[in-house]
Amino acid sequence: MDKTVAALAEAVAPIQDGATVMIGGFGGSGAPIELIHALIDKGPKDLTVINNNAGNGHVGIAAMIEQGMVRKMICSFPRSADPKVFTDLYLAGGIELELVPQGTLAERIRAGGAGIPAFYTPTSFGTDLAKGKPVAEFDGRQYVQERWLKADFALIKGELGDPMGNLTYRMAARNFNPLMATAAKHTIAQVSRIVPPGGIDPEQVVTPGIFVNSVTEAAIPQQEEILNRQEAVYP
């Protein structure tokens, strides 16, 4: 079994117009910048993008939006230090937004990966974000029913990867990445280093390879935070 793919372009090649794409990361931490930029090079349109945020500056997801690739964002916090690209387009009515509480977003993605079509959460009960959703009482407390969230593709960023697709993550860059890996039909990982099978201690694997379709090495990955401090623009 060898899930490694030599080129970023090859890794993102299956992503077509209209796809729903989960993209890992919380702000810049764990954001698969190289995969996102490879996807911008390919240029599919009309995408639904699931991420905690809605981009920052003019790289990564912000650059995807700026290139007109994104029809809809599903996220919890579309504000950031410099969210101008999303903000301007949103206020102009050029992009849809589904706002989801952060823990509910994480749990919906986890449910998508785990075959749980719906679950109940106390989060958002009695708020505008629960409007139209079923509610139910359990043990005297009110809960909101939330549905699973799945995607056609997930773009994720790991630290180590092996040909089986096993992955580790670096510090808080873990965030949504392991969840999204489970919830997409096709999961594409970029890693800082590909090691041979057995090169990751079986107890230290965070994402087992069963959830991963392809692994590409991006040896010294870019950090969105640093790119934005350099006022980088992609492409």
Binding site: M1, G113, A114, G115, M164, P197, P202, V205, P208, G209
Partner: protein
């Protein structure tokens, strides 16, 4: 006729061998406890499946030598296993996320009864005693392909492939292929469709020991397996 069937029918190892031929290289596979575990031994040359055990290991290998067991490293049948390079550990919720979330390619299970609509009964005879279900009810609703390996008839000569299960169900409409000691049968649109049968058995005799109509849709191939 039962006697004749007992003369020609496949051994469990041969049924397992036949099931193993349909497992693709790189497939993620869960094998039920007991008889289905034999399937792992018969992977065709050049193919390597990745085996999942619901107690939290992916990519395990064969049993260790006697005396070499590590009892922290077992499968769902509580038998000692070994690791292969690239294996991983995870907890039970993640393990059943793999199962329920549709990430396994194949699950192969034993059966008391299989119905023509894909219903499976394999966890309880319904006759009392201590009930035990394990992961069977999860597995039948998780894997992309749920296959059963089983003797075609019970020891008393009664059909195990039924119009409807009479024993308590493990899952509804979940089985897609049955490998028996006499035949390979797909379940399509609520019907048993005969794909392969032992050359030594006539269709009518096979039908006679099957509890629901065997449909034929295209060629019925000979079921040929090595001596095992």
């Amino acid at each position: 006729m039962s006697a004749a069937i007992n003369d020609i029918k496949l051994s469990n190892a041969q049924i397992a061998w036949r099931a193993a031929q349909d497992i693709e290289d790189g497939a993620y596979v869960n094998l039920g406890i007991g008889f289905p575990e034999m399937v792992a031994k018969f992977q065709p040359a050049g193919r390597e499946a990745v085996f999942h055990t619901e107690n939290g290991v992916l990519g395990f290998g064969e049993a260790p030598e006697a005396g070499e067991e590590d009892w922290d490293l077992i499968n769902a049948g509580k038998k000692a296993i070994t690791l292969k390079p690239g294996s991983t550990f995870f907890h039970h919720a993640d393990s059943f996320a793999m199962v329920r979330g549709g990430h396994l390619d194949v699950a192969i299970l034993g059966a008391y009864q299989v119905a023509q609509n894909g219903d499976l009964a394999n966890w309880s005879t319904g006759k009392g005693g201590v009930p035990a279900v394990g992961g069977a009810m999860d597995l039948v609703h998780g894997a992309k392909r749920v296959a059963v390996i089983t003797d075609h008839i019970t020891k008393k000569g009664e059909p195990k492939l039924m119009a409807a299960c009479t024993m308590p169900l493990t899952g509804v409409g979940c089985v897609t292929r049955v490998y028996t000691s006499l035949a390979v049968i797909d379940i399509e649109d609520g019907r048993f469709v005969l794909r392969e049968k032992l050359p030594a058995i006539y269709f009518d005799d096979l039908q006679a020991v099957t509890g629901a109509e065997l449909k034929v849709d295209g060629t019925v191939r000979d079921l040929i397996v090595p001596a095992l």
